[in-house]
């Protein structure tokens, strides 16, 4: 994907996973560090914790007249409910990303590119499953050029509590390296096929 056109992304999960923070970090990276336009809107249930929630991010080189994301190009699912509810909205040719241990996929469109990462498991291994969203951000940074990876890391470090920076950076790197490895593997597969 190129960095010029408008990119629309939805991250879904449940309250308490840091879904909104994740969207916020993406937007910060795009606006403050990359100097582009971005909007982040959110939808959530009435409960503060545990209810379904989603963050919608648009990144563009020009003004964004309509901040809702109706048909995302990228859909990141960190809960089964999030996947079930949002799957039909992903555009043909879109990118679907999910947490391996939290989502069982079904009815996948053959035109989609599919990526999964055990983000929550990685985060647990790193000492706190609350960092699954940061693992996912790192993973995302490998798969798309929606925002500059360095900007994303900067924005992330500026958004987490100071005493957790080191751990979150490790989580980000873990996700990013996993994504890069998958891409490499896919590239090899592609080369073998052709």
């Amino acid at each position: 994907m190129t960095g010029n056109a408008q990119r629309e992304l939805v991250i879904t999960g449940f309250g308490g996973q840091g879904i909104i923070l994740t969207g916020n970090i993406l937007g910060k990276a795009a606006t403050i560090h990359d100097g582009r336009h971005a909007t982040m809107t959110q939808s959530y249930g009435p409960e503060a914790r545990g209810g379904a929630c989603s963050s919608q991010v648009i990144v563009s080189d020009s003004d964004i007249p309509f901040p809702y994301v109706e048909t995302p190009q990228i859909l990141v699912c960190m809960s089964q409910e999030g996947f079930d509810n949002n799957r039909p909205s992903l555009i043909p040719g879109g990118m679907l990303i999910w947490d391996t241990d939290l989502v069982e996929t079904h009815d996948l469109d053959p035109s989609w590119s599919l990526f999964e990462a055990p983000a929550t498991r990685f985060a647990e291994e790193l000492g706190n499953k609350m960092m699954a969203n940061i693992v996912m951000l790192g993973f995302l940074s490998a798969l798309t050029d929606m925002v500059d990876p360095e900007s994303l890391k900067k924005a992330m470090l500026g958004s987490v509590p100071p005493q957790t920076k080191e751990k979150n950076e490790a989580a980000f790197v873990r996700g990013r390296e996993y994504g890069l490895a998958i891409l490499k593997g896919k590239a090899r597969q592609g080369a073998e096929v052709s």
Partner: protein
């Protein structure tokens, strides 16, 4: 912990937060409020930020008390504000009237949600626009600004305080859930580049002071509690001394002043932006979040060769009557998208007086209007026979 009043720099923040930063930059040092979705974030941020700059935050027992408290604080010499949404806005109406009658500067930010009643607390609406204009009883003029982005929440909040101080009245920021909750880039300039206007103070000895004797711009200088002017402030109809005067003549004089200071200063108050109006056959007139959709629609329409233009109302009240009247004489159709079932569109109809068609693109609330629907309306308007 002390903090800066002006957070100069580039931020990615939501509209509610940007509203707070605008308020602090404008000199607001008192907030009395009651939490309500989707305006709660305003109260939350003010509760954290005001003590950092030597101000006071108080969570009052309801919105009636909140509105009363900010009027009191204004007379105590502080710039004051509150924030709310539909149900709370309804409760504030009587004391907004007291603020208008006693000519008390203050700012009310209404982050509109879908109504009536409890409605859809977490979802967008623009259904309080006529309430903003007419919700308190009796004759008056009001000023209402309509931000369409977090950046405008910052900018317009400063403007709201400046207008309230200049013209001595409660000024409304008619935001909405999407503008309030959406995060976007907000650029806060250095403090010395922000225009801040303070109320005019009397420069006569107390014995000669007439609290409601208007200056050349129609606005009376205002003394604060403690300045030694011993003014009387009442919501009863009053004369220039501020004393209750129960006569039709006093009513004429007082309402002439509170209405006249707005109507005679429209050049300093009205604010709208236009796009592609020169050759437009269809003008989309929009405000708040719907103006964003309208802008997207007009850009799309122009790409398709359709002669559409945009009027974005930054100030919805007072309504730019002369401009809309003139516009209605040179376009085929005016279209108003709004997240209610037809409120501001009535102003277009009133002013067009049949000179052009007026069409409404409506949604009762819960979602914003997509640019697609407005493009469709532009197409239809162009196809309609005159």
């Amino acid at each position: 912990m002390p903090g800066k009043a002006v957070l100069t720099g580039t931020h990615f923040m939501n509209g509610d937060e940007a509203c707070c930063e605008g308020a602090l930059a404008a000199g607001c040092r008192f907030f009395g409020g009651y939490p309500i979705t989707p305006a709660t974030e305003v109260a939350e941020r003010m509760s954290k930020r005001l003590p950092q700059v030597g101000g006071v935050f108080i969570q009052m027992e309801d919105e009636i008390a909140s509105m009363a408290a900010i009027l009191g604080a204004s007379w105590g010499g502080q710039k004051s504000m509150t924030s709310t949404s539909g149900p709370g806005f309804s409760l504030m109406m009587e004391n907004i009237g007291l603020g208008l009658c006693t000519e008390t500067p203050c700012v009310i930010c209404n982050v509109q949600r879908a109504g009536p009643s409890t409605g859809l607390p977490t979802l967008v609406g623009q259904g309080d626009m006529m309430q903003a204009r007419w919700g308190s009883h009796g004759p008056y003029e009001i000023i209402a600004l309509c931000p369409a982005s977090p950046q405008e929440m910052f900018d317009f909040t400063i403007q709201a305080f400046n207008l309230s101080e200049q013209f001595r009245l409660p000024v409304l920021i008619m935001a909405d859930e999407v503008v309030g909750h959406m995060n976007e880039r907000v650029v806060i300039p250095p403090a010395d580049q922000i225009t801040v206007i303070d109320r005019a103070k009397p420069n006569v000895p107390p014995a000669e002071y007439l609290p409601y004797h208007p200056g050349p711009d129609g606005v009376a200088p205002m003394a604060n509690f403690g300045d030694g002017y011993f003014m009387h402030v009442t919501g009863l109809t009053h004369d220039e001394r501020g004393y209750p005067t129960m006569t039709p003549a006093a009513q004429v004089e007082m309402t002439d002043r509170i209405v006249g200071k707005i109507r005679n200063n429209l050049d300093r108050i009205l604010d709208y932006e236009t796009l592609f109006l020169d050759d437009a056959q269809v003008a989309v007139v929009a405000y708040g979040i719907s103006a964003r959709s309208a802008r997207g629609a007009v850009l799309t329409a122009r790409e398709a060769g359709l002669k559409a233009g945009l009027v974005k109302l930054n100030v919805a009240w007072p309504f730019p009557e002369d401009f809309i009247r003139e516009l209605s004489g040179r376009v085929k159709t005016m279209i108003m998208p709004e997240i209610n079932l037809g409120q501001m569109v009535l102003e277009l109809e009133r002013l067009a007086q049949g000179r052009c068609a007026v069409r409404l693109v409506a949604h009762p609330g819960g979602t914003i209007i997509s640019p697609r629907r407005i493009v469709e309306a532009i197409r239809q308007a162009l196809e309609e026979r005159p």
